[in-house]
Structure formats: structure tokens, C-alpha cells
Point group: C2
Chain length 480, copies 2
């Protein structure tokens, strides 16, 4: 019976190696993370998906506060004239802006953009708020949704509206802005590694790939199980690119007015797509414990038998009291087999079953989602043991993903090798630094430059594309 | 010196009894809670104001989760056709909607409203998500900002964009929807009392004053220090008003399709305005400890003297470790007097000073913001004592506000009495239930019906306005 249900339950998930893209769609739509809405390209986050985002929020927000940032909330609308102030910036964003033209029954004198990002609004306010060197640094962040009118969209990966955080900071000195840019990049790297169990490539973007208006952009790039790159977060050093048009100046100790140096950095609901494609398998989602809405699910087996429900509830209470996010699934209208498959599909890290024999033996029968390993834990020390198992799952998921990343990254020295490597992973190559070569590589292989690692020890001396002298080490990959 | 600074610091705050409205504006703009932006009627929440909103969020959200609600995130845009589906609803909101007409360079086929509220979007999704009686109840909430194109705006009280939470729930039975509507009203009442230290009038709105599309609306109404009412939160029972046009039906146990019964309820950044106008005084803000970004501020006195800074840092660390939100103000460019006034202005509940003599005596010199009372606390038990003082401040602020509310509420029996009473507070009166009388009262006194208390013990038998037979007890007041 359980077996039969199982087949019914998972039959809709396409195999990853058959059609990775369809596998992704299957997993996303069958796990109640999100749903499509009547607004083109805009999704709704259902409780399960939204809870993951809340947990991501909590972990990231704690890191932002620890590093001295404060949250603010800015208007969602930006007057067109503000958006036009920084030339590169408007060129990058204007084509994908949603425009408000009417308020009530009146036509507005000036169109208002729904923010695609908030540099121009922050800069407008910073120009009021920053007066003296004593006001600096000013390190702000906001949690909100933004809108980019995308032509083709995919749940979590590219949607017209998405939820994110955007940090915006103002500094007196150029080196302080650079330090902030790299600090937040490292916060992102550490967060991906330790919270999402996703190892990343950390480095600097090429000029072609940098943010519209930035002097330098850095990114953390993750590798999906199809070998493609997903940009998980970016940090930007603006120098004075925005502070000059927006006139953000401070009175320095020497009595003169100086332009400020700014940064911005962001991560979004895209991360949920990254988690799915880094860890998921044919049975569905696989969630790292730190962002799992339920870290463990408890299933009574033969719940009608004496002592089972009592023991389950006792164990459930003790886990909850120990701060473990646990779900007691006491539904009586579906079989245990159905429940197994449903919670596997939803990626719950640990399954805990308690049946009559377990009650007798004083144990719980457990199964790990990451390794499928089955084992028992003593009921009288359950919370402590579950904590240890969850910690181990968190680390093991990182280790597996890191292993995959290593196996799918290769040094390449010519276009043929590059083409082959980016069909299944990342290629590390020497690059001359010319945009022309990036364009050729994109044209011929579909791959883009991802970033330049901080370790720039050369692996050769000639550009992988043009063969001319090259001193830059660059990662190339196809990307989401 | 401190005295002179003090005069400088507070001279901009108008006296409350001179011009309450100007007093409010002075306090709001001088405490760094918010700022005006280039978008008409839209404010920015600065770190201090945003932190208050975060703390309100955390307290409310915990209550929503405890009562079985889950958070979701819906699109910010709503197609015009959806907004039109419920007749009363569209009539209520259409005149104040901001419309998106263009995406990128293309004109949209259908206009999209920036959500003024999300009933129509929730209902659209509920009609997909609700199938069987097993899916019910579905109890969701979202935290977001909404947009209402207001003609005249005031910080926190009425802004075009504001931040809020909106709960939306679906139930099988009418009595379940009614139970939810009253449960959340009571959550709001308890939250106002225990977290904001604001006593409220809890009751049902008249038909005239109910939400566009609701069968019944309930509210919690606070009293500001000018005697005017501020609607702090509302809960609505929709019955099947939305489920019919949106076709939200469930397959019941008896095999038939039935319409669901729905509720919604919301609280917003308006609450920050309520806190300011309930508790503030001539020296500025007065924040209840539970939502104060800093519950205590620690000031070193003669910081250069031996042992002072060490003792301050030690005490600071012990308070932090005990979970108290404390700020150590070690600025050396302003005097202690300046700091006193700045933190008083910002409403920090407790000031803690440590100077050379305090170090010698093993005490800290404290001052309460609510009573201005000064006292010392032993340094070796500081965290525990501070906890107790904060708890006392929280309760005392409630008691003071409750006393004010009692003193400014009066039973009235005729129009003259009513007119006089609503010039300084709430009037409780018998009302015939006719809208015509509400209109006359509004016209003649400027007051509106606020709500009907659950205790409907009659205080008379004739309508305060028309003199006809009356059985309803109603509160009237001028309102924000």
C-alpha cells in the first residue's frame, strides 16, 4: 500500500539528467513553495516558500546588524527624473521599468517608476542626511520587493517582482567603501556556505558584467547540478559615481566639502531557486536544516496502538522546547507511506517515526533526507541527538555540494576545451581582459564570464579566446 | 552649560495644549523617525522609526503564529478586472489607486493597480487553493506596503504608501469566520494594551463606517492626548461577499460544494503615530520599553576619570547579555546635558549615568522617562533591576494612558452635551442606528461614530441625535 502510494506521489517529477529544466519546474510547482498569479511574471509565495524566505531573512539580517547596518524603509516609487540622474544606471534599468502614470483619476505630471532597485532614492535621501564627517559611515539596508518588467520569467530565478534586501552605504574614504564592498561579499559567501550549504565562487565581475553605475562589482556564484552558474549575490563599489550627480557631500575635519564614496549589495528570493537546484533530487526538495520550515517531521506509526500517540506528543514537545522546528503529522486520512513521500518531496531534513515497537524499545526510527540513511535514536535523549544529526546534515550537504563543484570545475586553455567544459560546469581560464573576447565566448559557447577569483595566480599566459597575452584568471560558465 | 544646551535642544517643540497638531509635527520631524521624500505623500522610515516598526512586527507576528496563522507574500500589482469584481470594494478603493499603465516601453493591455489592500488578490489565489473541507481553515497573513493616493497626508497617520500587515482567512462555517474576526480583534486589543501601553475601545463599527465589502467591521480605537480618536486596527467579517464573486468553494463532507466564509484584518505604521500622540510630551517622544529601539541609554559622566569608562562598558555588556536593548553613548563632542535632552527627545525609557562617585559607591544614577523620577541602582545587580524598572515603566505608561482615557470619556444625552464632549474626548451615547443621525452628528460636531462596545447595557432609551427610540450604545469622537 505504501509502495503504491509512493509511485503515485512521485511520478510527476522528471529525472534531472533527462530534462533538468522540467525537473526544476516539477519540484517548484509540486512542493507548494509558490504559485503563479494573474499578474504576468509575478509569483505568490505560499506559506512553505515564504517561511524559507523568512528564515533566510532572519539569518542574513542578524549578520547585517552584527556588521553595523541598520534597516530603513524607502518609498516603492521613484520619480522618473531621479532615475535619469546617473546615465549608465538609467540605461541599464529604464527598459524594464513598470510606470505609474495615474493616481486615482488624475494623470501625474511626472511618471513614477516602481523601484527596480533603490540607488537613486537612497542617494536622494543621503544627500539630505549626510552633512559632516561625523555622520559617516552611514550603513543602511532595506527588505522589500522590487519590479523589473521581464519578458521571460521562471519561478524564483527570474520574476518581474521579487523580494530582496538592498544594502546602501556611504563612506568618507574610497578605501572604506572598498572595504565594505569586500566585507559584505564575504558575509554573502559565509552565509551561502554555512546557512544554505552552498559553496560559492567569490570574485570580481568583468566591466561587461558589472552593475549599471558601479565602478566595481563583486559576486558570489553558485553551481547548479546541471553545471550552470547562478549569481547568488552581488556587492558594488560605486566610488563617487552616484554621489556626484546626487551631490552627497560631507564637511570634512579640514573644513572642506568632499564627495562621499558609496556601495550597495543585494540578495534575493533567487536564493530559493539556488537551494532547489543545488540540493534537490528525484524525490524532490532537500532543504538545509537552517532554512527548513520543518527541520524534522514526526510520524506516528499505528497511531491507534497503546502509547504511540502519547510518546509522539511527548517527543514532539521535547523537540519543540529544545528549539527544533518540528511538525507532528497526525493525519489519519493518508497512509504513513504517503506521508513519507510527501515530506521527502518537501525536503524535510529528518523523518522521525514512532510505532508500538519503538515505544517498547524506547527509541525513535529516523531517516535522513540527505543520505537516506536509517537509524534509531534513544527517546530519552532525543532533542540533543536530533540537534547533532541536523548539524551533521547541514555540514554534509555542504560537503556534497562542494565535492560536486570541485568535480565540475576545470582549467581550460583553448576554445574547444572551454566549449566542452561549460556544457557541464565552470571553466577556469586565462583572459586578456578585452570585452571582445567575452563577446566571442558568449557567441560561440553560450557561456559568460562569471568572476575573477581573488587568487589570481596565473594558470597560463595567453587568453583562452584570442591567444594574446593574458594576465587575468576568470571563471566562465553558462548562467541562469 | 547643560542647562543652556537644554534650552537650545528643546526650543523647537510646540506645547501640546497650544497647538497639538504642530507639536506632533515637531516631534515627528525632530526625532529622526522618518523623513519626507520626493514622492508626494510617501515617507521614508529612518533607522529609528523603522526599528520601532520591526519591534511591532516581531510582537504582532509572534501573536499571529501563536494563533495558527502563516505568512505569505502576494504580488504588489492587481489587474483592474480583479479589483472590479466586488462592487462595494471597488467603489471604496478605486478613487485612490495608483495605476501602472506601461511596462518598459510598452503600454499594458490592462491597467494594474498598486495594491491598496489585497482582498481581491488573496481571493483569486484562495479560489485555486481551497478545494476540500480538509483545506480549511486557511489562515494567512502578509507584511507589505500598500498604496492609497491620498490628497492630504501626515507622517504615519495618513500617507500614500504605508507599511502594514493584512490577515486573510477562509473558513467553512459562518460562525468560524465570526470567531476569527473577534479573536483577532482581541489580539489587537491585547497587543495595544501590553506592547504599546495604549488602552483601546473595542467594538463594532456602524454600517456607514465599515470596510468596503465587509458584512461587519470591528475596530480598536485609541484616544490621543487631544481627545481625538485614532483607529488603531480593524477586523472584518466578509461572510460570502467575496467568496461568491471569486467562486471560493469547498467540497464539504456531504459531497456538496459550499461557499467559504472569509475575514481580513490589519494594523499599520499608523500605530507609530498612535504611540507618539498617546504618550509624548513637551520633551518629545516617550516610548514603551517593548518597542523602544533602545530601552536604556548609558552615559559616562567625566569619562576621562579613572574607572568610569571601564565600569560603563562592564555594565553595558552585562545589560546586553541580559537581553536589554541598551545604547552606550560615549560621544566626546557633546556634553552630558546635550545627551540627556537628545535621548529624552527620542523617548528612551531609562537613562543610566555612571560617574566617578557612582563607581566609588557601586551604583548607577538612573532617570525614568515616564515619570522623570531619579534613583540609583546597585551595579552588581544592574540587569535584573533594570528589567524590573522597564517592566514597571511599561505598566505605568498603560496606567497613565488609561487614566487619561477614563477622564476624557463621558456619557452624553443630547446634542449640546455631545458637541462639548467631543471637543475634548469620547462621548458614549444611545443611538437609533440610523445613518441619518450619524450624518447630522458629523455635520454639527465633526465627530463620527467610532464603535459599539460589546457591553451594550443601555444608558438611556432615546437617540442622542433624533430623540427617537434607541437601543444601541455607541462611542462618538472626532477622529484622525
Amino acid at each position: 500500500m505504501a509502495k503504491e502510494k509512493k509511485q503515485v506521489f512521485v511520478q510527476h517529477i522528471t529525472a534531472r539528467d533527462e530534462d533538468f529544466s522540467q525537473w526544476y519546474t516539477d519540484v517548484v510547482t509540486q512542493t507548494d513553495l509558490m504559485d503563479y498569479t494573474p499578474v504576468r511574471g509575478c509569483m505568490a509565495l505560499r506559506p512553505y516558500g515564504n517561511r524559507i524566505w523568512e528564515l533566510i531573512h532572519d539569518e542574513l539580517d542578524a549578520r547585517f546588524k552584527e556588521t553595523g547596518h541598520e534597516n530603513v524603509a524607502m518609498p516603492m516609487l521613484i520619480p522618473e527624473s531621479l532615475l535619469l540622474k546617473e546615465a549608465e544606471h538609467v540605461e541599464g534599468f529604464a527598459p524594464e521599468v513598470a510606470w505609474v502614470t495615474h493616481g486615482g483619476n488624475e494623470q501625474l505630471q511626472e511618471r513614477l517608476a516602481i523601484r527596480p532597485t533603490s540607488e537613486t532614492m537612497f542617494c536622494t535621501m543621503f544627500s539630505k542626511w549626510v552633512q559632516s564627517w561625523r555622520d559617516l559611515p552611514m550603513k543602511y539596508n532595506q527588505w522589500c520587493s522590487v519590479m523589473r518588467w521581464e519578458k521571460t520569467t521562471r519561478p524564483f530565478l527570474r520574476t518581474s517582482e521579487f523580494w530582496w534586501q538592498e544594502g546602501h552605504t556611504v563612506h568618507a574614504l574610497p578605501e572604506e567603501a572598498q572595504e565594505e564592498t569586500l566585507l559584505m561579499l564575504d558575509v554573502y559567501r559565509e552565509f551561502c556556505s554555512n546557512v544554505l550549504s552552498i559553496p560559492v565562487f567569490s570574485g570580481q565581475k568583468s566591466d561587461k558584467e558589472k552593475f549599471a553605475g558601479a565602478r566595481a562589482t563583486y559576486s558570489v556564484e553558485a553551481m547548479m547540478q546541471d553545471g550552470k552558474a547562478l549569481q547568488a549575490g552581488t556587492t558594488h563599489n560605486f566610488g563617487t559615481n552616484f554621489s556626484e550627480p546626487f551631490e552627497i557631500r560631507y564637511l570634512d575635519k579640514d573644513g572642506t566639502l568632499k564627495y562621499c564614496h558609496e556601495t550597495s549589495w543585494g540578495m534575493s528570493t533567487r536564493l530559493i531557486g539556488a537551494v532547489i537546484m543545488t540540493h534537490g533530487d528525484e524525490r524532490g526538495l532537500k532543504l538545509p536544516p537552517l532554512i527548513a520550515p520543518f527541520q524534522a517531521v514526526m510520524l506516528p506509526i499505528a497511531a491507534h496502538k497503546g502509547g504511540v500517540m502519547e510518546k509522539c506528543e511527548e517527543a514532539f514537545t521535547s523537540l519543540k522546547a529544545a528549539g527544533i522546528r518540528v511538525k507532528l503529522d497526525d493525519r489519519d486520512n493518508v497512509s504513513p507511506g504517503w506521508k513519507f513521500n510527501e515530506w521527502e518531496l518537501k525536503g524535510v531534513p529528518l523523518r522521525i517515526e514512532i510505532g508500538p515497537r519503538d515505544v517498547e524499545n524506547g527509541v525513535a526510527a529516523c531517516a535522513r533526507r540527505d543520505t537516506n540513511e536509517k537509524f534509531t535514536l534513544p527517546l530519552d535523549d532525543l532533542a540533543q541527538k536530533v540537534h547533532e544529526v541536523l548539524e551533521d546534515i547541514q555540514q554534509n550537504m555542504y560537503a556534497s555540494a562542494d565535492q560536486f563543484k570541485l568535480e565540475h570545475t576545470k582549467d581550460v586553455f583553448g576554445m574547444e576545451e572551454l566549449t566542452q567544459q561549460v556544457s557541464c560546469g565552470y571553466a577556469r581560464a586565462m583572459w586578456c581582459g578585452e570585452r571582445a573576447c567575452e563577446d566571442v565566448i558568449k557567441e560561440e559557447t553560450g557561456a559568460t564570464s562569471r568572476n575573477m577569483p581573488f587568487d589570481q595566480s596565473p594558470i597560463g599566459h595567453t587568453c583562452v579566446c584570442c591567444g594574446k597575452k593574458a594576465s587575468k584568471v576568470m571563471y566562465f560558465a553558462k548562467a541562469y
